[in-house]
């Protein structure tokens, strides 16, 4: 009721923007666009320009380099493991937080957000302190011949750490808005908790979940700071794609750096497009900053 009233009230107002001072919007739009162009668009276009300025030939030959291919493989593998793990964790955490009232709930909420506020380098440092040679588990790990730091498991830990909060963050508000009525109805009708989850909860949260998944994936594939602390950056072995970009640039192989950067930029474009589609479908806006 109230919503409809509001809508009918505000409609006539929308049709009369102040026409008398129309130069102010133009100036403001101009400033906004100028700022965005300087900071975002020109640098973004530059990625593609630099990669293709000598034609497609060098680009293709860079993409078939051995160390590049292994970096791609490593990045994909990291995402393939970290994303599902964080999805399951995120769903559990979201469910626990949205469906249960317990003391310290707000504290847990802020703890889940921690990976966003901690510097990636500090995150990497923490992992080194726990699993590194002199770390807490270092001795035990060394005795059993397990290598975590400067190897794939460490990179995976770092990736999972920095991309942890996304799913929980996107799913919690959806679950809270949903309420538990439908789930309770399903259970009184004889569904077990597994069935309730798959048939009632999951379809309801699917867009929020997908949104979280996309963001998790983008972060997992693009993470640089935390991964670079724990990886040791050995070309062809523990070098993910973002590390390859930086390494190539430092070795003055700018062209190779840009060829790899294009791939990562395309990933960003795909992420933004999918995000846009999901936002239009659901009407949600990024809740990242909440």
């Amino acid at each position: 009721m109230t919503l409809n009233e509001e809508a009918s009230f505000s409609k006539p107002h929308k049709q009369k923007p102040t026409k008398t001072k129309s130069f102010i919007p133009v100036i403001l739009i101009g400033i906004a666009l100028g700022y965005l162009a300087l900071m975002l668009y020109i640098p973004a276009v530059n990625v593609f320009y630099q990669a293709f300025k000598n034609g497609v030939g060098p680009f293709v030959s860079n993409l078939t380099r051995e160390d590049f291919l292994s970096a791609v493989k490593l990045t994909v593998l990291l995402a393939l493991i970290a994303v599902p793990v964080n999805t399951i964790f995120g769903l559990c955490a979201a469910w626990a937080i949205a469906r249960h009232k317990f003391p310290g709930r707000t504290l847990i909420l802020s703890i889940i957000d921690l990976p966003f506020s901690i510097s990636p380098v500090v995150a990497g440092l923490m992992i080194v302190l726990v699993y590194g040679r002199n770390g807490w588990f270092g001795g035990w790990l060394q005795e059993h011949g397990i290598k975590i730091i400067f190897a794939f498991p460490g990179m995976l830990l770092a990736t999972a750490f920095v991309s942890m909060p996304f799913v929980a963050r996107e799913v919690i508000p959806v679950l809270e808005e949903l309420g538990s009525d439908q789930e309770e109805a399903a259970q009184t009708l004889g569904a077990n908790s597994w069935q309730t989850f798959w048939r009632v909860t999951l379809p309801n949260i699917r867009w929020g979940l997908l949104y979280g998944l996309i963001l998790t994936n983008a972060r997992a594939m693009g993470e640089f700071g935390a991964v670079s602390v724990v990886s040791g950056n050995i070309a062809g072995k523990t070098q993910s794609l973002p590390l390859f970009v930086e390494d190539a640039y430092k070795q003055y192989e700018t062209e190779a750096a840009y060829s790899a950067a294009v791939i990562l930029a395309l990933l960003a474009v795909v992420t933004l497009v999918l995000k846009g589609i999901l936002e239009r479908k659901t009407g949600i806006k990024s809740t990242k900053t909440h």
Binding site: A32, P43, V122, L264, G276
Partner: protein, 250 residues
């Protein structure tokens, strides 16, 4: 995943005596790294506070061609890996880059100086203010502004006395979020900076360098300083958000 690493860090830091801790935390190189990091992050966060609010305003209040495209691309810094951001910013803002060459004749170097660090920090923290202010601005009722106008307020007065006060806590929240991101940023800043101590060396890079030298306790002490500051910012953000909620009429 979360609790153990953080406690490990506190324990490692606790193995140092307070005086040793203090000595490492306030060594000249660390102090200059903090000041470069925090001053640059603060200035860029405030700059984004102004321009981010303006962008949010333009996106909410005006219609113009390409608006949808711009709305979608504001999130680019979230989606673009930071190494790519650093790479392209370093090129564009270098002496012979597209934008840097415009400044070079005036003797202003951007890439590989602390100005370059600032550019990278602006880039990565740009979406925060826009995305926090946008929804609040959308909910704000235009009627109040119109009431102010009809009561004889000028556009300027309407902006300062009617629009800005309820938005202010939200803008500050966005600034704090951007600041916290900029302080911790490593990927883009390490590429665009020359990482020269006492000039444009930032705290996260200093931690990384200590680690490379296997100076774990040195890295931990500086990491602790950053961690504590991030936690303080987090507290401040929570406080700002509850302040902003007071203006929520719903």
């Amino acid at each position: 995943m979360l609790i153990i690493p953080i406690t490990a860090m506190f324990f490692k830091a606790a193995t140092k005596s307070p005086s040793e801790f203090w000595q490492i935390a306030t060594s000249p190189i660390a102090l200059s790294a903090y000041s470069v990091t925090f001053v640059t992050a603060l200035v860029t966060a405030l700059l984004n506070g102004v321009f981010g609010t303006l962008i949010a305003w333009v996106l909410v209040r005006y219609d113009f061609p390409g608006k949808r495209f711009i709305d979608a691309t504001v999130d680019l810094p979230f989606a673009l890996p930071t190494a790519v951001a650093g790479l392209t910013l370093a090129t564009v803002y270098s002496d012979n880059g597209w934008i840097g060459s415009l400044f070079a004749p005036f003797g202003i170097k951007i890439s590989f100086t602390s100005l370059g660090v600032a550019v990278a920090m602006i880039f990565i923290s740009l979406p925060f203010v826009v995305r926090t202010v946008q929804p609040v601005l959308q909910e704000m009722e235009k009627e109040i502004e119109e009431a102010a106008w009809s009561l004889g307020a000028s556009q300027w007065q309407t902006f300062w006395k009617v629009i800005l006060p309820p938005l202010f806590p939200t803008i500050l929240t966005g600034v704090a979020l951007g600041f916290s991101r900029a302080v911790g940023e490593y990927g883009s800043t390490v590429i665009i900076s020359s990482n020269t101590p006492f000039k444009d060396l930032i705290a996260p890079v200093l931690i990384f360098q200590r680690l490379e030298q296997y100076d774990y306790s040195g890295a931990t002490v500086i990491g602790m300083v950053l961690l504590v500051i991030s936690l303080l910012i987090l507290l401040a953000i929570n406080f700002l958000q509850s302040w902003a909620r007071r203006y929520d009429t719903k």
